[in-house]
């Protein structure tokens, strides 16, 4: 979730909570205040009634209950007097309750005072009721307005907070976008600051700038180092190999010496190939190659097959290329050729005699997957994990090679934004999936 959205949500939630708590407090206190008020009125009325009470009054009350309608048209109040049996003690306290009562067909909520007293050796229960309709309607009105205010406040805060944080955080997102997301290599990095007056963002921007400056200088240093290594190591090898070649062209050479010289030339060649491979990886990682060729995957695969055909035939391998659609993209053709040839070469090298190699494609909306599956020796999970490391070789395999093929393939893949995934099981072959982004 974006920081901006988080801020807006946080603000909205806190504001809603505050309004809700306040609203609840208001509603609760309204209830208490109105109850107190009614209770006081009822108590006062009771006192007045009890004070004026005599036998005639009681009789009149007892009889008048049959024609109550006369007494109160709005049914806002009522008095009920009953004779009750004399059991137990009289409760010394006045009892207040809120109840629903039906009076002449209408049900309403009343605050009711219940009192028991004895008069002329008889026990009476007196109920004084007062309707709470008015209070309830005030409460519901307040509740309604509160809800409206709540929704309104919520909308306003959400919009203003979002707009404000958007304004405040804009430089931050610019920094993220321009200085981090859009930077693929340190050389094309733009060093000018993003305009902002927020100190924190200024610090962030400057920190990223100085970090990138450091990376940039390291990058250049590495480039320099690669150039030096190329020159300082490859030149002496060049001298030695030329010298050995010159000696070998002497026909009077003794056969034993010739063998030794040839072996030396071979060793030297191996040294050269290792240095060149390591330099290739470094140069790819240092982004010293261009990506300007239109690469036709199908054509590259045909080239790879041509280069490796002899090995495939020598091992009697059934090679099936099931690619129909293929893929065309912009990249470095020579490097892609190197990537594929290394993977297919592994599929041959670690295959069994008379095995199979199947090359197939998978087309998904987000990527194009090239699968190279072999029926070879397979690898244990541990070996798969380390397969891309330099100088890593399948243990217990006496095939020659230097263990740099997959390391090269991996660096070329990274350079092009291609994912290489190896699925393998010991004894069940290996499938390499190469996913090209679309």
């Amino acid at each position: 979730m974006k920081l901006q959205v988080k801020f807006a949500l946080y603000n909205a939630i806190t504001k809603v909570t505050i309004i809700l708590v306040l609203g609840l407090i208001i509603l609760l206190s309204l209830e208490t205040i109105s109850s107190h008020h009614l209770d006081a009125r009822l108590t006062k009325k009771r006192l007045k009634l009890i004070d004026n009470l005599n036998a005639a009054e009681i009789d009149s009350l007892l009889t008048s209950q049959r024609s109550f309608t006369d007494y109160n048209i709005l049914k806002e109040e009522f008095i009920v007097l009953n004779i009750i049996p004399k059991t137990g003690k009289i409760s010394p306290h006045l009892n207040f309750t809120t109840e629903r009562r039906e009076i002449e067909g209408d049900i309403e909520i009343y605050r009711i005072l219940t009192d028991q007293f004895e008069f002329n050796n008889k026990r009476y229960q007196l109920e004084l009721g007062e309707a709470m309709t008015a209070v309830e309607s005030i409460k519901s009105t307040i509740r309604f307005y509160m809800l409206m205010v709540l929704i309104g406040a919520l909308l306003v805060t959400l919009i203003t907070d979002y707009a404000f944080t958007n304004f405040i955080l804009r430089p931050f997102y610019q920094i993220i976008d321009q200085k981090l997301n859009k930077v693929n290599d340190p050389i094309s990095y733009r060093h000018e600051n993003i305009p902002t007056n927020t100190t924190d963002f200024k610090i962030l921007d400057e920190s990223i700038n100085s970090l990138m400056k450091k990376i940039n200088s390291l990058f250049m240093l590495e480039k320099q180092f690669i150039a030096n290594v190329s020159h300082e190591l490859l030149t002496p090898i060049s001298v030695l190999s030329s010298r050995l070649e010159n000696i070998l062209s002497d026909e009077s050479l003794q056969p034993g010496h010739e063998e030794k010289l040839l072996a030396s030339l071979k060793t030297l060649n191996r040294l050269k190939l290792i240095i060149n491979s390591l330099l290739l990886i470094s140069k790819v990682e240092n982004e010293q190659y261009l990506k300007q060729d239109q690469v036709e995957l199908k054509a590259v695969l045909v080239d790879c097959y041509d280069d490796l055909e002899d090995r495939i035939v020598a091992k009697n391998i059934t090679y099936s290329n099931l690619i129909e659609r293929g893929l065309s993209f912009v990249g470095n053709r020579a490097l892609i050729h190197t990537l594929l040839i290394n993977i297919i070469n592994n599929a041959i090298k670690y295959n069994t005699f008379g095995g199979t190699i199947t090359i197939s494609e998978g087309i998904r909306p987000e990527n194009y997957v090239l699968r190279i599956a072999d029926s070879g020796l397979g690898m244990a999970a541990e070996a798969v994990k380390n397969a891309f490391n330099r100088f890593e070789r399948v243990p217990g395999n006496d095939e020659d090679g230097f263990g740099l093929g997959l390391a090269i393939a991996n660096s070329v893949a990274k350079f092009h934004g291609i994912l290489v995934d190896i699925q393998s099981e010991k004894g069940h072959g290996t499938m390499v999936s190469i996913s090209f982004p679309l």
């Binding site: 150039a227 190329s230 070649e245 190939l273 140069k283 010293q288 090995r311």
Partner: protein
């Protein structure tokens, strides 16, 4: 034919000198940019082998200076350990005829020089005849008495490379590198080249005797003509 080697690594220059002298070339050296420019200005060469990293400047400057001279046919081959791609591109854009990354095999150098000679002097016909076998360099085919011999790409490459190195032994290592390029894991086994040579020889011997196509001890192969 005369060659100017512009190379500050004296040991390497001497080895190239020895090799090319045996091939009948007259070789001169320049160790520095300044002396190279002087020599190029004064003399005409058939080939200028130019190293890029010179003690007193960049070989590219020598190339630029040379290109300003009028009516010169000298072929320039850049030799460098700086095998960065942009170097190769700017070298060839700057008017060099070829580019060889160090370390290279002397056979490869000779093959490149001979290929340039073919291009420069036989513009009218792109054919090389080896004992009645006609190599069509343009279309990369071989025929005998106008009958096309079906060779694979690699077999043609081997035949052509040996023909470019005629009367010289070409080692298996050099041949492997020429045919498969610089790919480490693929290049590490030079036995495959023998299979291709065997097939090539078998195909050619169906048309004529091929005793001019020699296997030279354990070193490699040679075509004499």
């Amino acid at each position: 034919m005369n060659v100017l080697i512009v190379e500050d690594e004296k040991a390497l220059a001497l080895e190239i000198n020895e090799f090319l002298s045996r091939e009948g070339y007259i070789v001169e050296h320049a160790w520095k940019k300044s002396s190279a420019e002087e020599k190029i200005f004064v003399n005409n060469y058939d080939f200028i082998l130019l190293d890029l990293g010179l003690p007193d400047g960049d070989g590219f400057d020598v190339l630029r200076q040379f290109k300003q001279l009028k009516d010169r046919e000298d072929a320039v081959i850049i030799l460098t350990a700086r095998s960065a791609v942009d170097d190769r591109i700017s070298g060839l854009d700057g008017g060099a005829d070829d580019y060889l990354a160090k370390p290279f095999s002397l056979n490869e150098l000779l093959a490149r020089m001979n290929a340039i000679k073919r291009r420069k002097h036989k513009l009218d016909k792109n054919e090389v005849i080896v004992h009645q076998f006609v190599l069509d360099i343009q279309n990369r085919t071989v025929s005998f008495n106008n009958e096309r011999i079906s060779l694979t790409k690699k077999e043609f490459e081997i035949f052509n490379y040996l023909a470019l190195n005629k009367n010289r032994v070409v080692s298996r290592i050099s041949l492997t590198e020429h045919v498969w390029g610089d790919i480490l894991e693929v290049n590490s086994d030079s036995n495959f080249v023998d299979v291709h040579v065997k097939n090539l020889r078998k195909k050619l011997s169906q048309f004529a005797d091929t005793n001019w196509f020699e296997t030279v001890r354990s070193v490699g192969y040679r075509i004499n003509y």
